[in-house]
Assembly symmetry: C2
Homo-oligomer: 249 residues x 2
């Protein structure tokens, strides 16, 4: 139905249009969208017009478009992510208030750590993660936790490489990564100094729902900080979030 | 392009499929989706298959589908709502910690108040609003603030009615509503007892960006609570959010 000569569906083309938007590129003309999406300009203009008519994109006075509130609403209203986020947020706020550093919630999505939420203290240190941003599983502390508890097939695929270095200290040796994942499954926590940025240490713990790890809760500390108080706060918060998830079933 | 005999575009049909999902209906079969979207079953099945292939929907083992993390990611990654929410969240958390009641952020969207964020204290009272939920402009305190500063044409349309009662105390008299809106523009705050639920009072203030009111910040208090401490907290938070928005431009 509605397939182009190249065989991609109309849905694919709509997704390609939406994919051109990012935090750094939140306002675009239809022509720019066509260029970034690899679509003919006439196709891009038609899809943009349809998306504007449906409210998924909004057009400004200067003809540039941005993602519409309607898209945000449709994506969140019936979202399973919302249940997890709502269960986690009060306890993330508690961790953030006590540890006074960045506090984050991530899930496994298409072989990466996708960050659902981030609370940041105004005076907290460096942190490259963004809400709705992603990091490789082997690099971030959240990713390491998600990978440690992921299906064996995914672990094997990641360990088979390539293991891209995000920072000079990212774990890129498969044997070392495998040992770390075993340690995480045993200890229920990871402390990952410098693996995303040299100046910071990620600490992450798993969150379980119905017996399965569904998310990782993490803080990003300055490199010199002791990870122990944050670990205790994260464990306490994870237990509270798991109880909230049980209560919301 | 790809229009059905009834003239709706493929984009419209995709939106109709996504619209069938809600907090109360987050998991559905393709047949259920077709029924709720008013689409022929074969059409619904094809669109659902395409949306699953694109990751916007995810299919469970029992063949039911739910909204995918990919949709959430696409909707948020380049979203202007995210900028507002990120600027507001630390100060909403501060209001919530001090007032210890529900704290909410809403924007004007398609003639209703759309709630972008809600922080709830575990012991806080009744509150029917939901994230990505909506309330009529004339009923909620957030809606009243958004309406007070909305374009005159929208105010006139709302005042022309009908003004549906959400609770027995919702303002449904146009002359009284008009006076309240004038008061809000002068005072920069509204205290709305019982207009959504008899047991609670909404208090809301405007948030401005580049000179225009872009959101309302509100708390929901128990009916018997004094609104004054919450009003002071809201005003302080709104000023801080406005400063954060200026800094993020």
């Amino acid at each position: 139905m509605a397939n182009s000569p190249s065989g991609d569906s109309m849905t694919d083309r709509i997704v390609r249009v939406l994919e051109t938007f990012s935090a750094d590129r939140s306002m675009q003309t239809a022509s720019e969208i066509g260029r970034h999406a690899g679509l003919p300009s006439s196709t891009a203009h038609r899809i943009v017009d349809e998306l504007v008519a449906a409210g998924l994109l909004e057009r400004d006075e200067d003809r540039r478009v941005h993602l519409g509130m309607r898209l945000w609403e449709l994506a969140l209203r019936g979202s399973t992510a919302l249940r997890l986020r709502q269960a986690a947020l009060p306890f993330m706020a508690q961790v953030q208030a006590r540890v006074r550093e960045h506090t984050q919630l991530a899930v496994l999505e298409q072989n990466e750590a996708l960050f659902l939420e981030r609370l940041s203290h105004p005076e907290a240190g460096a942190n490259i993660t963004r809400i709705a941003g992603r990091l490789p599983l082997h690099a971030s502390s959240s990713g390491l936790v998600l990978l440690a508890f992921a299906p064996a097939s995914l672990r094997e695929r990641v360990l088979a490489g390539p293991l891209r270095a995000v920072s000079p200290e990212t774990i890129t040796d498969p044997a070392r990564l495998s040992r770390i994942l075993t340690d995480i499954r045993r200890a229920g926590v990871v402390v990952a100094p410098g693996s995303v940025e040299t100046v910071s240490t990620g600490v992450a713990v798993p969150i379980r729902d119905a017996g399965e790890v569904v998310a990782a809760l993490s803080v990003v500390l300055p490199r010199e900080a002791s990870p122990h108080p944050a670990t205790a706060e994260l464990r306490e918060a994870a237990a509270a979030i798991e109880a909230a998830l049980r209560a919301s079933r």
